[in-house]
């Protein structure tokens, strides 16, 4: 019987988990991309452009980081872009009405979070597949926002508020600080808290997670609430940057956010991925689009390239995981 034998036989050596390997490949890709763009264009490796890339990546990352948690549980949140729209318009209204950026910010975050909780309740309690629940939510939010705004635009916010989106601190844009803050917070949450571990467990096998005593429903509501809240964060930064709110603000951001998560190595089946991976994914996507701009490639090509990168990244993942 060799059942219990051979346990201690393994020799100690540096062993990188598959997730780590995949992450290193991505970092390498991002690095190579930077080197290539530096060589190919004069404009890329300038402080201005780098900061610009980081700021663009930050908006994508806010949305994608919350989405990462949802995707880790094996779900999907298609309503994040529409969430930005309604949350931004509500925040704009409150700022205009009260003159208080703080109250407005709070409104945006609360609205984002509340929408997320609705999604979570639909998924966890009504057991509606997340794809359907959040897809329906997308339409509902669009409808509410369009009705509420009635084609109007709200613009002109106090400079203190606009600072969140377009200000600098020590020469670095404020959103970049926010991005680093959420990157650390998100990573700590996912990797170093009991809740984070439970989220991975749910994505890996929801049935086994439930039968292991994990309160699956509560955790699901939590991740959708987080995803909604991060859409709220994005709505505030977006609003502050644009200095105006319209009904369709943020509409075009859902699919790029999903792309960033997938490029970052998360699996739509759940249980695989990381907030840091998503950060790298958002960076890669932004770098590619920035590079195409600098190389004066027709903007029509951008969606095509995004699609190819997503498919390629997921395919590489599958190949990498199948080996060994």
């Amino acid at each position: 019987m060799s059942l219990a034998g051979d346990v201690s036989a393994g020799t100690p050596r540096i062993h990188l988990s598959k997730d780590m390997q995949q992450l290193l490949y991505r970092l390498l890709a991002a690095g190579l991309l930077c080197v290539a763009l530096s060589v190919a264009t004069d404009a890329f490796f300038t402080a201005n452009n780098i900061l610009n890339v980081l700021r663009q990546a930050s908006l994508l990352f806010f949305l994608a980081s919350g989405l990462t948690l949802v995707i880790l549980t094996g779900g999907l949140d298609l309503s994040v872009g529409a969430n930005i729209g309604l949350s931004a318009c509500l925040a704009a209204t409150v700022i205009k009405a009260t003159g208080s950026p703080a109250l407005g910010t709070l409104t945006g975050l609360a609205s984002g979070c509340a929408i997320g909780i609705c999604n979570g309740l639909m998924v966890a309690k009504l057991r509606i597949p997340s794809f359907i629940a959040t897809y329906g939510m997308l339409w509902v939010l669009h409808g509410v926002t369009y009705y509420y705004m009635a084609g109007e635009t709200i613009h002109g916010f106090p400079p203190g508020f606009r600072h969140i989106g377009s200000g600098y601190f020590l020469g670095i844009p404020i959103p970049v600080y926010l991005m680093i803050g959420f990157l650390i917070a998100g990573t700590v949450f996912a990797q170093r808290t009991v809740w984070g571990q439970q989220i991975y467990a749910i994505g890996a096998n929801p049935m086994a997670a439930r039968l292991s005593g994990i309160p699956v429903d509560r955790r699901l509501i939590l991740v959708y609430a987080f995803s909604g809240a991060m859409a709220g964060v994005a709505s505030i930064v977006f609003l502050a940057r644009l200095n105006s709110a319209e009904g369709d603000i943020g509409e075009a951001m859902t699919l790029p956010a999903i792309a960033a998560v997938l490029i970052g190595g998360a699996s739509l089946f759940g249980g695989v991925g990381s907030v840091f991976g998503t950060f790298v994914g958002a960076l890669i996507l932004t770098l590619v689009l920035n590079g195409m701009n600098l190389l004066a490639v027709n903007a029509s090509w951008q969606p095509l390239v995004t699609g190819v990168i997503v498919i390629f990244a997921v395919w590489l993942d599958m190949v990498g995981r199948k080996r060994s």
């Binding site: 346990v7 991975y200 096998n205 292991s212």
Partner: protein
């Protein structure tokens, strides 16, 4: 890996027992190597028309590989095939089908939302006179013929997902026979069947035998081996270790061949003389899953069996106690306190469920051994809610040693472990959670003999340390040998309780099968 097989009996590599005629299928010197593993090593195997050939071996002994070589799913690296004495090649499943070889795996290949007839003739529908359409009347007529042949009394228009496991199995067999199978290979066909369904299957097998069909039968159940087998082949570590005739060998001898050492199959334990406090009590428990009026008690230091036929409601009782299915009436008390809420509340109260289907419900296969060992105990291991990978790994390492889980490292993916080791991981996750009441649902399903006694030794150790155990098993011998008491279920109710003195297979069967 294993020392000289000192205890290996005289049958070791004996010549095949004399038989009349030519084997319908003979494999000679089959070898198959996968990276790092020699799955089959110079195995020879022959089967004659009209016989039941039992294939025995622990998990990983090479039974599945041999089956896959037989049905053309794997190509052997070396070896020869003979069909009715003629040398042939089997390079693909299509080749195997041409020689009349059909395999019924444990996971069925039926399409749940098609009906019985459509499944039997899937891909071989009868063309209608109108091109592109199929002749449905002929389909159902032919399907009825197949059903008559195997004696399955269902309407061929019944959707397969509405059938029970046993009936689905019969449909699989019918499908194979309708393809003129002359050699039928079955992998643990009775694993999910009740006693009565098993009887029915055996009857069909005998009929097939009489028609000259050769049956290759993989089983972990000794009783079946002797009740059905005409010839026995034992594999171990990919090698042929013995051939025998049932009349000339004994279960002990076969087990010794399989494991290469003596394993006591009776799992001896000291039975509880003075059980402790009542850990679990249900009163009038009914649930949405169909169970009604369940009254049972489990005390600390006790192993209490829950037996009855498959489908009698045993798993449902376990799920209702654990909060996985909603309670509609009555109550569950854990250490005297009413349990409310879902599995998370039950786990918090000290209940752990080791479910029947390990891979679907017990483990996250894409995660590591360490992750799986920590999953239930997270709030207990990390009371301040901050997770530490190092502490999780140390906790995992302790459990790996304590439970003797064979894994190169805690970071190993749990999917590659053997069934027995995976089961230990599921038990281990509850140890980490500080569980006091363990509910085992078929703890030895799909686990080889050696690992079975390890699992039972472990359960015994748990109760010796003061835990309470409720154990569901379809193997009455296990209940009889292991349990202090047992409840017998029939038709979603408990119909009787057997104390240690009355606990016998006959009593369980009599209570569980009694018709109204």
């Amino acid at each position: 890996m294993r020392a000289v097989m000192a205890t290996t009996p005289r049958l070791e590599l004996a010549a095949p027992p004399a038989v009349p005629g030519t084997p319908i299928l003979e494999l000679k010197g089959i070898s198959k190597t996968f990276p790092g593993v020699k799955a089959l090593d110079d195995v020879s195997f022959a089967v004659w028309p009209g016989e039941v050939h039992m294939l025995l071996g622990e998990n990983g002994a090479g039974k599945s590989s041999l089956m896959k070589v037989l049905c053309g799913a794997y190509q052997a690296d070396a070896g020869e095939y003979f069909h009715n004495g003629e040398k042939v090649e089997i390079r693909s499943p299509a080749d195997a089908r041409r020689f009349g070889i059909a395999v019924i795996f444990q996971e069925f290949s039926l399409v749940p939302y098609l009906d019985v007839a459509q499944n039997i003739f899937l891909g071989r529908e009868f063309p209608s006179r109108i091109p592109g359409l199929t002749d449905r009347r002929r389909l159902y007529r032919e399907a009825q013929k197949v059903l008559d042949l195997i004696g399955l009394e269902v309407d061929p228009r019944t959707k397969v997902h509405q059938l029970g496991v046993a009936q689905q199995q019969m449909v699989e067999i019918g499908k194979a026979l309708s393809q003129d199978a002359r050699i039928l290979v079955m992998d643990e066909p009775t694993a999910a069947l009740s006693d009565r369904e098993t009887e029915r299957l055996f009857e069909v097998m005998r009929q097939l035998q009489a028609k000259g069909v050769a049956l290759v039968y993989i089983s972990h159940r000794m009783a079946e081996v002797f009740a059905l087998g005409d010839r026995i082949t034992v594999l171990r570590d990919g090698k042929l270790v013995g051939r025998a005739l049932p009349g000339e060998t004994s279960p002990d001898e076969l087990v010794r061949m399989m494991v290469g050492r003596n394993v006591d199959m009776s799992y001896p334990r000291r039975f509880a003389t003075e059980p402790g406090e009542v850990v679990l009590e249900t009163k009038g428990l009914s649930s949405t899953n169909g169970i009604r009026d369940i009254d049972l008690k489990v005390r600390a230091g006790e192993i209490v069996g829950l037996c009855g036929l498959v489908g009698s409601g045993r798993t449902e009782v376990a799920r209702a106690i654990f909060g996985a299915d909603a309670v509609t009436a009555g109550e569950v008390r854990i250490f005297g306190k009413p349990r409310t809420g879902g599995p998370d509340a039950a786990a918090f109260a000290g209940v752990g469920l080791i479910p029947e289907s390990r891979k679907a419900e017990g483990l996250a296969l894409i995660r590591t051994v360490s992750d799986n060992l920590a999953v239930a105990g997270l709030p207990k291991l990390f009371p301040n809610m901050m997770f530490s990978p190092g502490k999780a790994r140390r906790s995992a390492q302790e459990l790996i040693q304590r439970l003797r889980i064979a894994t190169p490292s805690p970071n190993q993916s749990v999917a590659v472990l053997s069934g027995g080791n995976q089961q230990k991981v599921v038990i281990g996750k509850w140890l980490a959670a500080g569980t006091r009441l363990f509910i085992f649902d078929e703890p030895t399903r799909g686990i080889d003999v050696g690992a079975k006694s390890e699992i039972f030794a472990l359960i015994d150790q748990l109760v010796a340390e003061g835990a309470a155990v409720l154990m569901i098993s379809s193997e009455q011998a296990e209940i009889v040998h292991v349990c202090d008491r047992a409840y017998v279920m029939r038709g979603k109710r408990i119909v009787g309780e057997l104390g240690r003195a009355d606990l016998s297979e006959e009593n369980i069967v009599r209570m569980g099968m009694h018709d109204e």
